[in-house]
């Protein structure tokens, strides 16, 4: 049986509650173990000896929460990450998307935008970008700013090029960026139909009907209750037989939506909404 909570765990719950009450950012249903580690990193970087001290800074210092938020969210991403996923989207989703005269696509938890640019490139090559509206949402304003800038480190381009090629890319990857601002600046035209927006999967609701939702490596940070809420949002947002893409180790098997989506590329984690 579980042990009584440690002082740290008690303080952690109070911190998360305080953040919710004051800033309306809801981390209460994030998974405990990784949240705990991230708060420990925040304490170290922000030089706080206890969680209570961190809480005090978050409540009373003007910049405290903005700082903490950078540690609570995990901007680990890359372009065409898991190339097999993008290959499956290209080969098994795009043909269906081509049958619609206009498309709405939601990249939920887009972080610093690498996957948004990847999808835009894929859609362009499939002749779909011009008829698409892409909503790219995240809770972290700094990440969204970085995504809007579209400048990524040059030293990552080698890996991204490799990923792009493995994902079935049809052009030369370097056609999509120029070296500028000390990084790789991606072609602005890719973002013409992209709307970056602040949206919380824990507290906000559905804002549009969509044909395809890509939400990768976000659900793993949520407990089952929040996973169910979010899968519910996606289910409501998706059109009849719409598509859902998840991270390469994410699973809906343990959620109450397991029967509401059917895998069309099981290994690559691409699903399709089951008609009711």
């Amino acid at each position: 049986m579980s042990h009584p909570p440690s002082d740290f765990d008690i303080e952690l719950r109070m911190l998360v509650e305080a953040v919710y009450l004051k800033y309306n950012y809801d981390f209460r249903d994030y998974t405990g173990a990784s949240q705990k580690r991230r708060v420990l990193v925040a304490m170290r970087e922000m030089e706080c000896a206890t969680v209570s001290e961190l809480q005090s800074r978050v409540l009373h210092e003007p910049n405290g929460f903005a700082q903490l938020l950078q540690y609570l969210t995990i901007p680990v991403t890359e372009m065409f990450r898991d190339p097999d996923y993008f290959l499956a989207v290209r080969e098994q989703v795009a043909p269906f998307l081509k049958t619609y005269p206009s498309l709405k696509i939601w990249v939920a938890g887009c972080s610093t935008g690498e996957e948004v640019y990847s999808l835009a490139i894929l859609l362009k090559e499939e002749g779909l970008l011009e008829r698409s509206i892409i909503y790219a949402t995240d809770i972290n304003p700094e990440s969204l700013d970085a995504a809007r800038r579209g400048v990524f480190p040059l030293d990552r381009m080698r890996l991204y090029t490799e990923n792009y090629q493995k994902s079935g890319g049809k052009a030369a990857f370097s056609d999509y960026y120029t070296a500028a601002y000390g990084g790789a600046l991606f072609e602005r035209s890719l973002m013409e139909n992209v709307t970056f927006a602040d949206h919380s999967l824990s507290t906000d609701s559905v804002f549009s009907e969509t044909h395809f939702v890509s939400c990768r490596n976000v659900l793993i940070y949520f407990n089952r209750r929040l996973q169910d809420r979010v899968l519910g949002l996606f289910h409501d947002s998706l059109c009849h037989r719409g598509f859902l893409g998840l991270g390469s180790k994410e699973s809906i098997d343990f959620s109450s939506y397991a029967e509401r989506f059917e895998p069309i590329a099981k290994r690559e984690r691409v699903f399709r909404k089951v008609s009711p």
Partner: protein, 205 residues
């Protein structure tokens, strides 16, 4: 008394009144071979859950669960995100993601940066499991060429769990077990055959 009997006696003493519900086994270089020596020793009906974590290349799908399914009397599978932990089941950490244990005794995955260059990191799994299981956790650290696992073994000890480290003299790679011994003074330091012989005893009658 034979070496095996001595080891078993030491284990009973170290175990004391603990009732083990989870065994975490970590390893790196040489770890697959070591597990080939260990896991077949788990008897059918063994009650605790067993979670194995080896450092595997991040971009390759780990086939470890498949590999061991035919060599083990217990069901073997890769641990899935949010999967409730079942007793008597052997789980493997998949590649590319950290694996943690949550308070409700389920697994969770995460993409935080590598720890000691490793993802999955043994430290992360052991620390989170120690927080949940306390004295009901046994940690076994095997061969490896880096320092992952030492921190995790320390946490297991702190929370009252049982700690066993492979004898570095006999391990294929000694750095990992040696670091854990230096830092956490484990309950038992044993060569692989002795660990194999005490494994079934972790289930208290």
């Amino acid at each position: 008394m034979s070496a095996v009997q001595t080891a078993q006696q030491q284990l009973r003493t170290a175990l004391g009144s603990r009732r083990i519900e989870m065994v975490v086994i970590g390893g790196s270089a040489g770890g697959v071979d070591a597990l080939v020596g260990l896991l077949p020793a788990l008897p059918a009906g063994f009650a605790p859950a067993v979670t194995c974590i080896l450092h595997v290349p991040p971009d390759r799908d780990s086939r470890l669960a498949e590999l061991f399914a035919t060599r083990t009397a217990l069901p073997v599978r890769e641990a899935q995100d949010k999967e409730p932990i079942q007793p008597g089941t052997v789980y493997f950490a998949g590649s590319g993601y950290h694996l943690s244990v949550e308070q409700d005794r389920s697994f969770s995955l995460s993409c935080e940066p590598p720890v000691q260059f490793a993802r999955p990191a043994i430290d992360i799994l052991m620390e989170s499991a120690a927080d949940v299981y306390g004295p009901a956790l046994a940690g076994i650290l095997l061969t490896g060429a880096n320092f992952d696992g030492a921190e995790g073994m320390c946490r297991i000890r702190e929370r009252g769990g049982l700690t066993i480290v492979q004898d570095p003299e006999e391990a294929q790679a000694s750095a990992m077990p040696a670091e854990a011994i230096r830092r956490c003074a484990p309950h038992l330091v044993l060569p692989l055959p002795a660990i194999r012989s005490v494994l079934p005893l972790l289930e208290t009658p």
